[in-house]
Symmetry: C2
């Protein structure tokens, strides 16, 4: 059985995107939507709160839900998505090259970042992301072998998240991310098209499974001119 509030949310998103309700106009009221979808008001409110969190609408007490122009939320580093999902949704002319795939040495610093102890293995994959033939992103992924066994190279060329979620049946829960600007390493200069650039933007992520076990550390190293981060934020009063 489908979750009712999610199907309503999806339907409302589609209708907003196809301009059934256009920017800065009001959605039907919660009571009207309750009747339209033949459900309860609380279910409608769950769907509307999701729309609000994701920047589709803004709710005003006493008035209604105003449609927001979410124009071009292009490159959402916000949220957890794989490069493949991203490239597909943006219809980019992209390509992935696996540069390296093997186990890391016992003294590697990522072992402490991943919190692995003793003889547990950590494997590493370096991938170059091309957009329109230019090498613009270097992804360095480190996985805890205990949770995610090292796959074949072909899997890395496709989507590791597909492998983790579909093949291994694991559920990804949440991630902590950090964005900083660094000077390029020798490796960056060797593997990316960096001529003329003196910085790289680095997104460092710790990714956790739904059972809160840490399984992945990633550094996504971007050429600065191809980097863009878009965010939607609500004001919270700290009283």
């Amino acid at each position: 059985m489908q979750k009712k509030y999610l199907t309503i949310y999806d339907d409302l998103v589609k209708k907003i995107q196809t301009n059934v309700w256009s920017e800065s106009t009001l959605l039907p009221s919660e009571n009207e939507l309750t009747m339209m979808y033949e459900t309860s008001r609380e279910t409608i409110r769950k769907a509307l709160n999701l729309l609000s969190q994701n920047g589709y609408i803004h709710k005003i007490r006493g008035k209604g839900s105003v449609v927001i122009d979410r124009n071009k939320f292009d490159f959402p580093v916000s949220g957890i998505s794989s490069f493949k999902e991203l490239a597909e949704s943006l219809e980019l002319n992209s390509e992935t090259v696996v540069e390296r795939l093997d186990y890391v040495k016992k003294d590697h610093t990522v072992r402490s970042k991943l919190g692995v102890s003793g003889r547990d293995q950590v494997w590493q994959v370096d991938r170059i992301r091309k957009i329109d033939v230019e090498k613009v992103i270097l992804d360095k992924d480190y996985f805890n072998e205990k949770h995610v066994p090292m796959p074949a190279k072909e899997v890395c060329e496709d989507s590791i998240y597909d492998y983790v979620e579909r093949e291994l049946g694991l559920t990804i829960g949440f991630a902590k991310k950090e964005i900083v600007v660094e000077e390029p390493t020798d490796e960056d200069r060797e593997l990316l098209d960096l001529t003329g650039f003196t910085n790289v933007v680095v997104i460092k992520s710790l990714v956790y499974l739904a059972d809160t076990s840490l399984f992945q550390y990633t550094e996504s190293r971007h050429r600065p001119d191809k980097f863009r981060f878009v965010d939607f934020a609500r004001r919270v009063k700290n009283g």
Copy 2:
């Protein structure tokens, strides 16, 4: 009257921060919390969902709410907060210098970004943010005079958001943000301590009031080594 689920949320945050429940242990169950706070389960769930959204806990169906180590969510560009609020919460040794405060010319490009028409005025304030005597951030703020009249210079040295929210009684609603990396302008080089740096990180924001009217455009220009953005993200399935 206080909102019950918010006071419970605040109380739970405090208890997590003071290690009443430590990392990766389970919170009391929803039913137990319901009794502890003498309220209904739905009210407890509202508070817990807030904790989850803000990265304090992770809920697992059938098990409970696991406490997450939210270690050093330092420089939250995520969310809308003023530099003053930020500096205070981080206890930084900071200072603000107002470099410029006047009306912008009729042909200025920000007029279209703010969507002002005809003879409406737009005013501008340029502020340098010092951290430990170093000039590391240049904030360029543009306001629609119709919503926010130009204040005295002293207000800009303190906090414009205080002025907007307290003095004018306006309510800030939401913001769209974009982070990009650019080459420094002549102005950046003149006003910031940029020797040795060839890039600046720019956070461009459009800020809206609670009634969805656009009132502010901001460019916050950071020296790359002092820039850090931390984020918490949950995995959403797009099935």
